[in-house]
Amino acid sequence: MKENSRRGFMGKAFGAVAGLGAIGSLVAMKKSWDPLPSVKAAGFTTLDMSIYPEGEMITEKWRGKPIFVLKKTAEMLEAEKSDPAAQARNIKVGNDNFMVCIGLCTHLGCIPAFRKKEGNFLCACHGGMFNAAGDVIKAPPPRGFDIPPFRIDGNKMILGEVGPEYQAMKDNGVTL
């Protein structure tokens, strides 16, 4: 009896030590797989918004992802008049209106192609479509392009930092 309780105690004590060690090592394993600090530190990009030509879709790079920048033409803005959802996605820098978004399809992450003539984006992977404002117009993508966190500074745009304009868009549910 006495013998048994002693072995029982030893078993439990071992269990406790091993359990603590197991939890600790799981934490270490989780953290080892986190993105490295150098990867995170490189996560900012500054764009000079004054150089973009109107109506031309330009692809920039931020955190390895393509960023679509489209300076809206007067016709494009005109076409959006009746579409408040599209207007809400416009980003004003100075007097110009831009579409800036992460150029990855919200379905499974392919890069949709801009079709200048039609003025929309087609994702060849599963046939998703987006309009010039970045809103989805044909499934499977569940939502419009995501807008990267940004801060506006004069005619510069810093991607990766959260400014008030971006925060407002997020709060209004314009982007995720």
Partner: protein, 404 residues
């Protein structure tokens, strides 16, 4: 300590220390195989041989492969293919085997389904086999990343995005899996580790389990006949080999196994030397570019059917359907409610179910390869719905099956 006597031979010396004779009996000379099984039962041996070929060719590729985003592509396409003597041979063997192994796995699987080899007492064989299939899929996928071509990169992008689980938006989880915002160095290194170490280790363990699962219920046979292995093996050992329903694995059955393996190897090396290109996607001969998606993304042929089940639906439903397709085969022993362990052709409705399922998967495979437009989308959608419906009705059509 046990009692040791002076050894009379090398074998005796080993036998006293390692019980080699017992091992030999269990593994080969008294491992009993029913006599009435056809060449489809040799697929297991073919898989073992193919896995060996993959391992050996993999070892040789490993000696020059560079798991670095700037060098991986050239180490494969230039160093291994052009500079290393016979480097092309290892790559072709590896690439062709990786593709052919799935063909054989599917034949192996459908043989099991046709003859009811997953039933009554053989459930563990089926489950361990399906676990092997899943691990092989992960192994194939991680290997596909390593040449770091366009398809590698974008397949990596798409598949890891699946882990954001649609509307749950677990982007943090996706970034954690990749170790970066997009597939990059951390991603390449960890898939390299998975491909050359962790997953092969798991596969070897599962192969062990798969074999062990066979030892007690024994292998099924063409008629689904319940054989008393104890009785039959006694007859065999008493030299009544003619009336016994079983035979030794080695060297009796092995001769047939190896003959089928021989035919397979001729076919295999024919592909390796003359038709290796079917296993190498042309898009993957462009180096990875994170700013350009290939016009049309599709996986290797062996994943097309489950990819097609994901495709025609909105994202969440698609993911659920995809998850369904991944696990449902595992549940087959319980979804098939009939007691009959006989070939499908003697089971009435189940025979129809079997062939419709097979054809449906072929259709899904074909649609997965075609661009998702117009009539192809519609056929894909119908085939996906049919696939799901088939599994739902399976318990009902098998429940009232007459005793065959």
């Amino acid at each position: 300590m046990a009692h040791f006597t002076k050894a009379t031979s090398v074998k005796d010396w080993l036998n006293q220390r390692l019980a080699v004779e017992t091992v030999e009996k269990v593994m080969a000379s008294e491992y009993w195989i029913p006599k009435n099984i056809n060449f489809l039962w040799a697929m297991g041996m073919i898989l073992a041989v193919t896995f060996t070929l993959l391992t050996i060719s993999g070892i040789f590729l490993l000696m020059y492969y560079q798991p670095h985003v700037d060098h991986a592509f050239y180490s494969v396409n230039f160093t291994i293919m052009r500079e290393v003597d016979f480097g092309w041979l290892w790559r072709h063997i590896h690439g062709v085997a990786a593709s052919v192994v799935f063909l054989v796995i599917y034949i192996h699987m459908f043989t099991g389904i046709y003859y009811g080899s997953y039933k009554k007492g053989r459930e563990m064989i089926w489950i361990s086999g399906m676990l092997l299939f899943v691990t092989f899929s992960a192994e194939a996928f991680s290997g596909y990343m390593l040449p770091w071509g366009q398809m590698s990169y974008w397949a990596g992008m798409v598949i890891t995005n699946i882990f954001s689980l649609g509307s749950l938006h677990l982007d943090g989880l996706v970034e954690w899996i990749r170790g970066d915002y997009v597939p990059a160095q951390a991603f390449l290194n960890r898939f390299f580790m998975l491909h050359v170490f962790l997953l092969p280790l798991v596969i070897m363990g599962l192969i062990g389990l798969h074999f062990a699962a066979l030892r007690i219920p024994h292998v099924n046979n063409q008629d689904g006949e319940e054989i008393d292995f104890e009785e039959e093996s006694k007859k065999y050992l008493a030299d009544d080999t003619k009336n016994s329903k079983v035979m030794r694995f080695a060297n009796d059955f092995l001769s047939k196994d190896l003959m089928v393996v021989g035919f397979f190897l001729i076919f295999f090396f024919y592909l390796v030397f003359w038709h290796y290109s079917f296993a190498l996607d042309p898009v993957n001969f462009d180096p990875a570019d994170g700013l350009k998606t290939p016009a049309h993304i599709y996986p290797e042929w062996y994943f097309l059917w489950s990819y097609e089940i994901l495709r025609p639906f909105p994202v969440d439903i698609g993911l659920i359907a995809f998850g369904f397709a991944q696990v449902i085969f595992m549940l087959l022993p319980w979804l098939d409610r009939s007691e009959n362990t006989v070939p499908a052709n003697r089971r009435g409705k189940f025979a129809i179910w079997f062939w419709v399922m097979l054809v449906d998967m072929v259709v899904l495979t074909a649609m997965g390869k075609l661009p998702p437009e117009g009539i192809f989308s519609t056929i894909g959608l119908v085939a996906s719905l049919l696939f799901i419906a088939m599994w739902i009705i399976l318990p009902f059509i098998t429940k009232n099956e007459k005793k065959a």
